[in-house]
Amino acid sequence: MSAISRDDVAHLASLARIELTEQELNDYAGQLDVILTAVASISEVAADDIPPTTHAVPVVNVFRDDVVTPSLNRDSVLDHAPAAEDGRFRVPRILDEE
């Protein structure tokens, strides 16, 4: 269980798409280190042959008949969009322009 550096936090923040300030990068590096130390005790548990539990109750795929059912009205959904145009979500550019 290794220590976590400021650069590690910067990389993680980039993966998580959060712009962090210099102050936050430093604060989180220290705090995450403390948290990881506090949770590290779980590595003491010998669990090689123990299956993981992903859910409290057994989860199975739930299917329904492939029929059309009412869904949310398009306008009521677009009303809450940060920007909409021609009945669609308007988003900032996603490709670099030539």
Partner: protein, 496 residues
């Protein structure tokens, strides 16, 4: 009017049904109480005056026309701001959802409406339910009605404070690692986490999907059970919803009969870190149960020691994935969309501006625990520990019907005391985490005041889908203590 705010849900529903009082009068009395005290408590983020009065009028109309009423028809309720209600602001305590008015009702809300329960408004909470004190709300902390300088617990602190300050007789919270039970304990009221999958998560803003569960708060065990029975039940819109009959929690709460029950005291949930006053009230509660004919057994659950570590890896991992939906594209906040920045940069800026410090901390922690090279050591290992915790519970059920412990290791701490120490904050959940990871039901019921004259709770945990058992034990404790005190613990609080 003041009698109306101190009445139980059962009393209010009875008076409304027999026309002693109207649902509108009951709602108005609570709206007035909110206006009077909520400036100091800050339990509510939004009060839906018009919507509440409209729902109350509908109940009065049903009464007048002789229609059959549900057991809670006309009773007001405070709803945690993590559940969607059509057209009513839903923020989950975050700036990233400020101003969002969802276009649909959560299943819990739909069931409350069908039962004629009057929703007064939305309550304050730690942002996205991440926290144990309600200090992580983007809209300021909620204050504990027992002592306004103290935390009301969290993350459902607004709901708990609303009930304890007589702003509502009922409230809905959600519990991922203790977020109903811990606030109930420190505000001197009753709060239950139903079996995972018993209450639909449809319309519940997700934090940690394998753990999140909505549940009831009230001032009495029977009121809590009645609200539980209204919101529980199978829902095809939640694929983890359990397709079984809801246990008779109301019958169990009323019977309060623990004679012949075998009750296990968890050895690992005591000792170092537990305040003497908390331990003393717990020991007295154990004796009360013994005096009522229960057999008391000490049980060791060695893996419970690792619950904190497992939880603070599993929950942040799931949150880092769940909160990816707040991408500034379809709903919620969008900042710096100046025509120059790319979608990805707008996303980065928006998430930086919209999320608070604890949410960012957990997303980063979860991203780390799930990243390649660390997955097996952290997330994978935590899931194995989860299996061991479940096995401890299952082994216990061979010799006892329920397990008990204090709900929290300490009385409520002061606002600000732990904000810069995440690990100290996380320890507030020490006792409630095991049954969250296991998925079984658990309840907190008041058992007295500790060293600092603030509320202490008893936690009762039971096997999956044996929710009735936790109500049976809580009912017995409440009944025995009511004889000692001549009422509820909350009667001992200084009036606001």
């Amino acid at each position: 009017m003041s009698d109306l705010i101190h009445a139980s849900a059962v009393e209010l529903a009875t008076q409304i049904a027999n026309k002693t009082v109207s649902a509108v009068e009951v709602t108005q009395a609570h709206l007035e109480r909110i206006a009077e005290v909520d400036g100091r408590v800050n339990a509510f983020l939004h009060v839906d005056t018009d919507g509440a009065l409209e729902q109350a009028r509908a109940v009065d109309h049903a009464v007048a026309s002789g229609q059959a009423l549900s057991a809670l028809a006309g009773v007001p309720l405070a709803l945690k701001d993590v559940l969607t209600q059509t057209g009513v602001p839903t923020t989950a305590g975050s700036k990233i959802l400020e101003g969002w008015r969802p276009p649909y009702d959560a299943t819990v809300v739909e069931r409350l409406r069908d039962a004629g329960v009057v929703i007064l408004g939305k309550t304050n909470m730690d942002e996205f339910a991440m926290g144990s004190s309600t200090e992580n709300s983007a809209y300021g902390p909620t204050h504990n009605p027992w002592d306004l300088e103290r935390i009301p617990g969290g993350s459902s602190g607004g709901s708990a404070a609303a009930v304890s300050a007589y702003e509502a007789p009922l409230a809905i919270g959600t519990d991922t690692g203790g977020s109903i039970r811990q606030p109930a304990a420190v505000t001197g009221i009753v709060g239950a986490k139903p079996t995972y999958g018993a209450v639909s998560r449809y319309g519940l803003v997700a934090f940690s999907s394998s753990l999140d569960q909505a549940g009831p708060f009230a001032r009495t065990v029977v009121d809590t059970a009645l609200l539980h029975s209204v919101i529980a039940g199978h829902d095809p819109r939640d694929s983890t919803s359990i397709k079984e009959a809801v246990p008779d929690v109301v019958g169990a709460a009323k019977s309060a009969d623990v004679s012949k029950m075998r009750i296990g005291v968890v050895r690992e949930l005591s000792g170092e870190g537990y305040q003497p006053g908390v331990q003393a009230r717990f020991d007295e509660a154990v004796e009360l149960l013994r005096a009522q004919g229960a057999e008391i057994v000490e049980i060791s659950c060695p893996s419970f020691t690792y619950a904190l570590g497992a939880y603070y890896l599993i929950a942040p991992s799931e949150c880092s994935s769940n909160l990816a939906r707040f991408d500034a594209m379809r709903f919620g906040l969008r900042t710096d969309d100046n025509g120059e920045l790319s979608a990805e940069d707008v996303m980065r800026h928006t998430r930086a501006a919209g999320f608070g410090p604890e949410v960012k901390r957990r997303i980063i922690l979860g991203t780390y625990a799930l990243s390649s090279g660390y997955y097996d050591a952290y997330y994978g290992q935590a899931q194995k520990v989860r299996t061991l915790i479940t096995r401890d519970f299952e082994a216990a059920w061979a010799s006892v019907d329920v397990l008990i412990s204090p709900t929290t290791p300490t009385e409520p701490f002061r606002i600000g005391e732990r904000v810069n120490d995440p690990v100290a904050m996380y320890k507030a959940d020490l006792c409630t985490l095991p049954s969250s990871l296991y998925g079984g039901p658990a309840i907190s019921v008041p058992i007295g005041l500790g060293d600092e004259n603030l509320p202490v709770g008893l936690q009762v945990m039971a096997p999956v889908m044996a929710d009735d058992q936790v109500y049976r034990v809580a009912g017995a404790v409440e009944k025995a203590l009511a004889q000692q005190w001549g009422g509820l613990l909350l009667d001992q609080a200084v009036a606001l």
